[in-house]
Symmetry: C2
Subunit: 718 residues, 2 copies
């Protein structure tokens, strides 16, 4: 500017007093950089507008509320805990608002807040309600302190240019460095841990490093406290994701873990583009983002392991991750996700995604049928998805042939889930928890998470002798993943084969699931559970489903007017028996109505040693004094045998239209199922009527007597 | 046109051969007239475009399928039944398509179809599967035949100009007149009946009259077979609706009954505007349309009496009625309904509504708190709605103080329903029926409709001695409506008082329900059930609710691991007892979570003769061998006393946000309820915390010892 120095200063003071936009703020260079701010200053309209307004509201309300920095006192959920959480979000929103508008009211607010923290922090001891292993100072646990610093270091970075040298030094020495020191050398066990808590700590310290020019912090963040690379960000990238970007606890926790990964990576990219962090390990971070997006149906995450079912792709973490992914890949199909998120990140990527949507240029995201390998080496089984159609109303089969997923894992190897027409149809209970609902055990995991949700019978997989897999021995379970034997795709069907022989002693389970995609009728599922055992066991195969039972064809069916629990432990104590009937060897059928569509499950078994098979209808609710469980329902197919095959077809069909008052195709298409062992394996033939038959051909391996290959053959008379 | 006559003719023949649009079709003059067709020809865009395309698809698909007029054979749901239904819709769609496009392919199709019917109809005897009382010829019941003629006469009217004189005569003499004759003098008992079946017959015959110039048909339609006015359309308008446009069976059946009323009225308006039919009986038809629209929540009809709960304002009947209402009233707020219907009628009204929406000029429809009187004279009780906010996410209390509602009525005088945040919260079971689902008893009403859905305990009203009202004696029930004692509205609350003393011998019930509308917190309900009796009875007050139980404060609460039915008859045989506890005299509390919101029900009782009161948690499912019932839940408040008052507050509060992971205000605001009899009546004081109290003051009548007035007083310390 070519004004006189004095004029300039006077003008600046005037601006300051009036709280009017200054000419131009220098751009930040952490997660948000020059490109982001440039894009944000020029953009308008669409989802971006909504998101900009939302940020302004947070910032304005924070300024209106004033600077409130209470002395740490309360545990999670309590007042001081929530206030310090509000503060870091407020600082971030205000700092960003300053960058977008140049309005110094926002930077002043951040300066005041940071100063208040700088006054207090050096005086703090460990938090009075500290968690034993991982205490914090501002918060009861250091995880929250790391999250606080991740946000706060970014806020500092966005407004630091407005500070005097003296203020900057004070904030660094009394606040940023002490918190970073505490989170690194102050708690090496967490900082160096290969775990998402470690990622938050590493990201926090690394971001302070970039924001203040402290290369030592950056180096420790990347390579661990001793800077040798046995811990730190790179090691976390190596070990916390599978080669396909799958996080072993499942998408619910993956979503949470993702935030520090992508934010810190973007900060690295801004400051050290030569490191090409997004190309590291064959682009593992982008894979992790794409995988998290894909492990969802109609906006909600697949409830794998401990997962709360109302969580989905609209969460803040995925909004941020999506924009960063777009920034790196320019993959236009990510706009299809942004459309569903109904908001965008305030960043260059967010601006671009909003523009694509506003201009009607959304490219549909192609959700693939795919094997997502589990384990850092990719050899701990897999989560396999078979898909037909889109992710909002199409058909999806989820085969869980993974490892245990650590402490949040469920004992559910070879379980499956089925989604169709926008609904969860064959269901997984998820976690027994009401997050943040104080009346429900303080919002923590409930007792029923252990007694029901984690148990094998709470899932759609085989229960042997009414026990859970590995007898719920976590150590044993951690050591024994399932095996993804095969994944086959052709024009007729997508097929997954999973196996485990460690879940129950002396019992090998192989499960073949085919999503058949006929041209003229709805996609349907063929499901074969092959059980090999030398001794006799009681086999229970549950099918948990959503919807109203329409009809079944069981013989000697008895309906009970008094409902009793199905057992005393391993989850059975929660299941009330409402009716039961005898299952024929084949062509048993159950039809239910879910939403506007009918679902028919046609099933049978093949087992020389079996006498009578039964089907039991159950509902949850026994031994649930606090009304903690949802009143979900299902059937259990029960069989006593040694080796056996339990097979089924699940088909969506027809339509119930309440508005126009018509119903079409309310009956199953399946005329018959025919299962036959063959010399090389087995064949299951499904007669779908109208001259259409499908044969699933299962083939044994050469040296191994177990099934290793599968194919579906379509035969049409027309 | 100034072409040579010969040229013109040659050109016409060419057009005919090519199936190209002719220059201009003469306008019809029945339900659709000159104005409608003119508007349709010029319009484009918005919802109209979608609706136009939908009509074209029906017409084109019908032409592609060809002329299929099978000899009548099957009952409802069977092939010939469905085909004749398809045919009248196809003729209507094609005839309209001809009017819009002038394309003679469409008129030819209608001509061919009508000719085929004219060939067949004179040969028909009564239908082989005929219904005893009301047989048809094309269909098993004459109702379907009337509906067929209502559509077919309109199709004829739209294309008749393209017919030769000879064809026109043949169609009149061999088809339209014979069907009209059969529906009038051929079945006087239906034609002259004051019932919606009669309305269809009258509309059909009257429309043939207008379309063919047969004034005698018109006169019979308007005034009955003997043309004296003791039956016919006017009489139906006099007797089938209450003065407020309420139809005694409830909105589900009202919606169905509406179609012939509004269509025939529009045909009268077109042909004899001097009759001012829409002004008849103080505009009763418009009142009926508005009332049907208002007896809904978030798009679905209130499930009053036998009602299937997935039916709502999107039905064809209401789409047609809405456009006709707009045509008469030019009430722009009807566009708010059209927006929710997501389509418009193909008529001038539909064009106008589509335009309002496309231009962003939608005016919100003002859903009122209102008493809808029941009975032709308006003196058979009332359905009373108390509202706050809009109809998609606002709060709605429904007080059912009506008459029985004839054969489809439920034994539920003084029952209530509660809607909030887009959800049904305090629920009514509706009808036990899966319409058109053949596996469910052919789609008819199920046994459980009688054993459960109609019973008193299936509703939110008092059950005395475990019996249903009037001991389910329909004659007695038909004779004894409830009384709408008062309806009071002021700034603080809307209040309804209902009463009945005939439902149970020796027991008078008065129910006061107030929807309180505080400025600073969510609206809430005060509910007082006042019972007067000289002898002791067992009182059960059920509360059927949607959602997950969060917490309750009952003492000595016991949860059962074996669930047993609550009784043997009157609906109790379907209810399984899952837990129970003792109720204190006051401040018992039950909190549940529905969608994103918490609901707390705080309750107590006042009864000198009562000893212990209990609260029973139940779920449906016993004595339901065919899985016909939904597994709904609720609580029953149980008390043994003579005179008693059972009072409660129901308050929506707080928020559960799964995406952003926070919960606020998950606890009830109510500190205490205090009920006190006074000299002049009684007072119920609700302490809502933070210095806010509300007192419901109930006042007795001068000569009558029962409560007749009510008022809510707000006291705020601030």
């Amino acid at each position: 500017m070519r004004l006189m120095p004095l004029m300039t200063k006077a003008f600046s003071i005037l601006l300051l007093l009036l709280g009017v936009a200054s000419a131009a703020a220098a751009s930040p260079s952490l997660v948000l950089n020059e490109d982001d701010i440039g894009a944000l200053r020029e953009a308008s309209g669409g989802l971006l507008e909504t998101s900009l307004q939302a940020n302004k509201i947070v910032a304005d309300e924070a300024i209106a509320a004033g600077i409130v920095v209470p002395w740490p006192k309360d545990a999670g959920g309590g007042y001081t805990h929530e206030q310090h959480k509000r503060n870091y979000k407020a600082m971030y929103a205000a700092a960003l608002q300053y960058q977008i508008s140049g309005d110094t009211r926002y930077s002043h607010y951040v300066a005041e807040m940071l100063s208040a923290y700088a006054d207090m922090y050096p005086q703090l001891d460990l938090h009075p309600e500290k968690k034993e292993q991982t205490p914090g100072k501002l918060f009861w646990q250091s995880l929250n302190e790391a999250v606080w610093l991740v946000y706060t270091s970014q806020a500092y970075d966005m407004v630091a240019e407005t500070f005097s040298d003296e203020l900057r030094d004070r904030l660094k020495n009394n606040l940023l460095f002490p918190v970073a020191d505490y989170l690194s050398k102050g708690q090496p066990q967490t900082f160096d841990k290969i775990h998402n808590h470690g990622t938050w700590a590493v990201a926090a310290v690394g971001m302070v490093g970039y924001a203040t020019g402290r290369d030592d912090y950056v180096e420790q963040a990347l390579k661990g406290l001793d800077r040798r690379g046995n811990s730190g960000f790179y090691k976390q990238l190596d070990e916390l994701f599978s080669p396909d970007g799958y996080y072993t606890e499942g998408p619910y926790y993956q979503r949470y873990a993702l935030m520090p990964f992508v934010w810190f990576a973007k900060a690295i990219e801004t400051n050290e583009p030569d490191k090409a962090i997004f190309k590291y390990r064959d682009g593992i971070l982008l894979k992790a983002i794409y995988t998290t997006l894909e492990l969802s149906y109609n906006g909600l995450f697949l409830p794998i392991n401990d997962a709360i079912k109302d969580k989905g792709i609209k969460t803040e973490e995925l909004v941020q991750a999506l924009a960063i992914a777009y920034d790196i890949t320019a993959d236009k199909s990510l706009s299809d996700i942004a459309r569903q998120q109904e908001r965008v990140s305030l960043s260059a990527g967010g601006v671009a995604l909003s523009k694509i949507i506003a201009e009607g240029e959304v490219v549909p995201y192609n959700y693939p049928s795919k094997v997502y390998r589990d384990g850092a080496d990719g050899e701990q089984g897999a989560l396999t998805l078979l898909r037909s159609g889109d992710n909002e109303s199409g058909t999806l089969v989820v085969a869980k042939n993974t490892s245990q997923g650590m402490g949040h894992g469920h004992y559910d190897r070879l379980s499956w889930q089925f989604y169709d027409d926008g609904h969860e149809v064959v269901t997984d209970y998820g976690a027994a928890r009401y997050l943040n609902v104080e009346a429900k055990y303080g919002g923590h995991y409930l007792t029923e998470n252990k007694t029901w949700a984690k148990q094998t019978v709470a899932h759609n997989t085989l229960v042997v002798d009414k026990a859970s897999q590995f007898d719920t021995d976590l150590d044993k379970a951690n050591k024994n993943p399932a095996e993804q034997v095969a994944f086959i795709q052709d024009n007729v069907a997508d097929i997954s084969i999973g196996r485990i022989n460690t879940a129950y002693e002396g019992v090998q389970l192989t499960r073949i699931q085919a999503l058949v995609k006929p041209k003229s009728i709805e996609p349907f599922v063929i499901d074969v559970v092959s059980i090999e055992s030398d001794t006799q066991h009681l086999y229970d195969l549950p099918l948990h489903f959503n919807g109203q039972v329409i009809d079944h064809n069981l013989e000697n069916s008895e309906s009970f007017n008094i409902w009793k629990p199905l057992g005393k432990s391993n989850g059975y104590q929660h299941m009330l028996l409402r009716s039961e009937g005898n299952s024929a060897t084949t062509n048993n059928r159950l039809t239910w109505l879910m939403g506007d569509r009918f679902y028919s499950y046609t099933y049978g078994y093949q087992a020389e040693s079996a006498k009578q098979a039964n089907t039991l209808f159950f509902q949850l609710g026994a031994n649930d004094p606090n009304h903690n469980l949802r009143r979900d329902q299902g059937v259990v197919r029960r069989l006593k045998a040694d080796s056996a095959v339990m097979y089924a077809v699940l088909e969506p069909h027809g339509e119930y239209n309440g508005t126009a008052e018509y119903v079409r195709n309310s009956y199953s298409r399946v005329n018959s199922l025919d299962y036959k062992p063959t010399k090389t394996g087995a064949e299951l033939t499904v007669d779908m009527g109208q001259g259409l038959t499908y044969t699933l051909i299962l083939t044994k391996g050469d040296e191994n007597s177990s099934l290793v290959k599968a194919k579906v053959i379509e035969l049409s008379e027309n």
